[in-house]
């Protein structure tokens, strides 16, 4: 099986990665090395010859690349996003052809956005028309990751009434078969981060395309595929957060101020530990979310929206705090590990934008408030599914893609099982924190029940969605808590509660001891040990 260390070596040195960024050059060697290492097989389900049988594994692989270079995995990983719809809606022929291409290292793209329409999937203006010899596309997609490099694209196009749920269909485009003059690239956009990645566009003028799935099902297929891809985006954030924590952990361990290393001072220690706690919390949520793809498939409309909002948001917070701690070295591009920190900070800012931005995911969650509130009150829990979702590292059952539905019928078992988890705890400090989490969750869900469903929810709904996300994160921490990972998850739970109480303008929780985690993280940063409870050691060591 592919492992983190193997990927570490494939990526090459930090100097080269910095140079590619500075010159906005595509990380071609890095992507080729990932191909050679066999990563594309993890984008293809086993029925078509690939190894995508465990989304926890894919999440971890992405994280392992992301902690070296987020740009590389954003570029490489796009093939997974670009083909996700094929496994859901493609014919057997389409799926096996695409599988064969992907396994052979052919990159793919996912073309949803248009210059005039971003999040609004129902109103795209690229149009598909059917003629005697098949479908033809006319119109432009931009900004699209891999639009120029990819040979294969899945494209959302209008086939019916604009603005209607069934007015759009999905198409598969193989550029190598297109007639000249029926398409052209749009030049690469200059981006703030992921500077080398191929963010460009494509314009069609009567280009041939294959219908993917039934006519009119485009948006539905996209929304179901997004439940998978949005969840996997968590791996991008975890990698960036780990990278930031390792860089800063090393600085704080070695920087001597007034004859004392910073790590021996209260404030830097506590910031480092809090950030490690937040990252561990994000990891818990992302892992449980990824495993839910298998265990709680029917609940992914909730879990994917949560993971896609909260994991990048927590990671942005971690990066902001660590920026302050690292000082000038977070800003300079030519000192301290080739300016790796400022690069990862810029790169990571894309994660909360693409594949559904944070406001878009929060509004998707808000649409499900009534059901979430009812299911919470009823303490609905899919017991066996939940057990599988929290059984980290264990090979999950096969994914039944047909169970991915637009709105979860059971709500969210991870949160709804909270009363039972809390009842089973005994250690006093942890129990006290768990009880406040439970009380806050009940309050949040109560407020959610009062939100009237609306096409354009009020701001309060977005804030409640943000709070509910944190309840999910806290619940994930409790589900995964063991005596062995206590040093992380105690601080993680505390950090989550601190944020929750701040969001809800309630009194902050009692402090917990940050020292053991600060020591552990400083040590892991120096020796290359695992820096999160379910993370991998860093083979380069330090």
């Amino acid at each position: 099986m592919l492992s983190g260390p193997l990927l570490d070596n494939a990526l090459g040195d930090a100097a080269r990665i910095a140079e590619l960024d500075a010159t906005a050059a595509f990380p071609a060697e890095q992507c080729a090395a990932l191909d050679a290492a066999g990563l594309p097989a993890y984008y293809v389900p086993p029925e078509w010859g690939g190894k995508l049988d465990d989304h926890e594994v894919l999440l971890r692989l992405w994280r392992d690349v992301a902690r070296r270079d987020l740009s590389t995995i954003v570029a490489h990983g796009k093939t997974y996003l670009g083909t996700a719809c094929v496994w859901l809606a493609g014919s057997e022929d389409q799926a096996s052809a695409v599988a064969k291409a992907v396994l052979g290292g052919v990159p793919a793209a996912w073309a949803l956005s248009e210059p005039g329409h971003g999040a609004d999937l129902l109103n795209g203006s690229l149009t598909a028309t059917e003629s005697a010899d098949g479908w033809r596309l006319t119109g432009a997609k931009w900004p699209i990751n891999n639009a120029t490099r990819a040979d294969l694209l899945t494209v959302l196009a209008r086939t019916g009434t604009a603005g209607s749920a069934r007015g759009q269909s999905l198409f598969l485009v193989d550029k190598s078969t297109l007639a000249p003059g029926t398409w052209q690239h749009r030049r690469k956009a200059a981006t703030h981060g992921i500077r080398g990645v191929d963010i460009s566009g494509i314009a069609f003028d009567g280009a041939r395309a294959d219908l993917l799935g039934a006519q009119g099902t485009g948006v539905e297929t996209v929304l179901r595929a997004l439940q998978l891809t949005r969840t996997m985006c968590g791996g991008l954030s975890l990698g960036a957060g780990e990278h930031a924590l390792r860089l800063t952990g090393r600085f704080v361990s070695t920087r001597v101020i007034q004859r004392k290393p910073l790590i021996d001072r209260a404030q830097p220690r506590s910031v480092l530990a809090r950030c490690a706690g937040l990252l561990a919390a994000a990891e818990a949520a992302a892992l449980v979310g990824a495993r839910s793809i298998h265990g709680l498939t029917g609940e992914m409309s909730v879990a994917s929206a949560i993971v896609k909002s909260v994991v990048p948001a927590l990671t942005d917070l971690v990066i902001a705090d660590l920026t302050e701690l690292l000082g000038a070295r977070s800003y300079l591009t030519d000192v301290y590990e080739y300016g790796a920190f400022q690069k990862l900070a810029r790169d990571h800012q894309i994660v909360s934008v693409f594949d559904g931005s944070t406001p878009v995911n929060r509004s998707a969650l808000a649409q499900q408030f009534p059901r979430l509130a009812r299911a919470y009150a009823a303490e609905t829990v899919d017991g066996s599914g939940l057990a599988e979702a929290v059984d980290i590292g264990v090979r999950p059952s096969e994914l039944d893609r047909g169970e991915l539905v637009l709105a979860s019928r059971n709500g969210c078992s991870v949160v709804q099982s909270l009363p039972g988890v809390v009842a089973a705890l005994s250690e006093p400090e942890l129990t006290a924190m768990a009880r406040s989490l439970l009380a806050i969750t009940a309050k949040v869900v109560g407020l959610m029940a009062e939100v009237r469903p609306a096409a354009r929810p009020a701001m309060a709904a977005y804030e409640l969605a943000a709070a509910y996300e944190l309840c999910y994160v806290g619940a994930a921490c409790l589900h995964l808590w063991t005596a062995e990972n206590d040093v992380w998850l105690r601080v993680a739970l505390h950090a989550v509660l601190t944020r929750l109480t701040a969001v809800l303008r309630m009194p902050a929780p009692e402090p917990v001891d940050h020292d053991p985690l600060a020591e552990l993280v400083a040590d892991a940063a120096m020796t290359g040990g695992a820096i999160t409870p379910f993370g991998a050691g860093d083979s380069r060591g330090h």
């Binding site: 200059a190 703030h192 302050e324 000038a328 900070a345 800012q349 406001p359 701001m459």
Partner: protein, 401 residues
């Protein structure tokens, strides 16, 4: 001089000071040359020179307003043309003798630049163990050591240098020197390659190695051992000014986001119809107004309630830098993809976001060093510091009370 009038319409395509030109200079990692020329023509530096010495500095809120207007258009000009020389100047007006002050004033009024060379990468806030030292000789001093991450170090006409002058422990081990760069023997100062940064990309962050560089006795600012004290007194002013300045970039960011929301069509309406967007814009505006009010009071208090500045300045600084950065994050969620593009109509947003990032660096601590003077633009946390309070008098000279 009305700075806004001078800088003219940011959207006008042929404006050499417009957003397109500002962004293009940023891409080249250069200062906006047309901008510097224009500011030179209008003698902008006079804002930093006390009226007594021929400049326009008699009230701190005036210089804050001038700098804010500059930062609203281009923070690189704001720092690399403006704030850097302002900080250096404050140290000189605080401690320089009559001749030093007159020379510095003349240099600034002739459009010269004065760099504040305090920082050493290896020591950061750890001033007590800083490596840069001055050794007394019969007719002056010999400077040795490194200075790094110093705005305009290479192109400045004069430098304010912070150096260890005594090995004794305590706060009186350092002194400041004011030297004109033309007077430094070339072989004793080796400029190393410029440092680059993710924001403020046009600003020339220099580094140099000094080896037994001779400077005359009269280069000393104030008395030997006063280096820290001078820095902290100047810092009283510069730190109070920064929150007022930081309103500038936020102002532009808010305008960009509002323009986008009104223009962009989505879900059959304008983006500005979405309640989330409306609330986010309104909150960012409220943040801007709060910082504006708070910083205005802090800046005026420099004159009127100097003895309370030890509370107002850090409070304003602590609160405002965090609020500014949070507001930027919120506005980013309105602009979506447009906040991530370095081109197009809203490309200015990501530049401002990068430029404002240092607002949280360089936490200042109890024994904070002279870097804190720089932390004036970078610092987030409230600082306790022991120096005497000072007040700018009517003639712009800062005097201990």
């Amino acid at each position: 001089m009305d700075i806004d009038e001078l800088l003219a319409d940011p959207r006008a395509a042929d404006n050499p000071m417009g957003f397109d030109a500002v962004l293009a200079a940023d891409e080249r990692q250069e200062m906006l040359a047309d901008g510097e020329r224009l500011l030179d023509e209008h003698g902008f530096n006079a804002e930093f020179v006390p009226t007594r010495l021929g400049g326009r500095l008699d009230r701190v809120d005036r210089v804050a307003a001038a700098l804010r207007a500059l930062w609203r258009r281009d923070p690189c000009l704001g720092l690399g043309y403006g704030f850097s020389s302002f900080i250096s100047g404050m140290n000189i007006w605080t401690a320089g003798d009559e001749e030093q002050q007159r020379n510095a004033a003349k240099l600034l009024l002739d459009n010269g630049k004065i760099a504040a060379a305090f920082h050493e990468l290896d020591h950061g806030n750890d001033f007590a163990h800083a490596g840069f030292a001055a050794r007394a000789t019969d007719d002056g001093w010999l400077l040795s050591g490194r200075k790094e991450v110093v705005t305009n170090l290479r192109r400045a006409d004069a430098l304010v240098l912070f150096a260890r002058t005594s090995s004794a422990a305590g706060s009186r081990g350092h002194s400041q020197f004011l030297v004109e760069t033309a007077d430094l023997p070339g072989e004793s100062v080796r400029h190393l390659s410029r440092l680059h940064s993710s924001g403020m990309r046009g600003v020339q962050l220099g580094r140099a190695e000094f080896t037994d560089c001779p400077v005359p006795r009269h280069a000393l600012l104030g008395d030997p051992g006063q280096g820290m004290e001078i820095a902290l007194r100047a810092y009283q002013v510069t730190r109070a000014v920064f929150p007022a300045i930081s309103v500038g970039p936020l102002d532009t960011a808010l305008r960009l986001a509002t323009e986008f929301a009104l223009e962009r069509k989505l879900y059959g309406g304008a983006v500005s119809d979405i309640p989330y967007v409306r609330a986010t814009l309104a909150r960012a505006y409220a943040d801007l107004l709060a910082i504006d009010a708070f910083s205005a009071v802090a800046v005026r208090a420099l004159h009127l309630l100097p003895e309370e500045m030890g509370i107002y300045a850090p409070a304003a600084k602590y609160l405002t830098s965090r609020v500014v950065l949070d507001a930027f994050e919120d506005l980013r969620s309105v602009l979506g993809a447009q906040a991530y593009l370095r081109e197009g109509k809203y490309g200015m947003f990501q530049k401002l976001h990068r430029d404002i990032a240092p607002a949280t660096f360089a936490t200042c601590h109890e024994q904070a060093g002279p870097q804190s003077a720089w932390a004036a633009i970078l610092n987030l946390h409230p600082c306790k510091f022991a120096s005497r309070q000072s007040v700018p008098s009517a003639n712009g000279r800062i005097q201990p009370t």
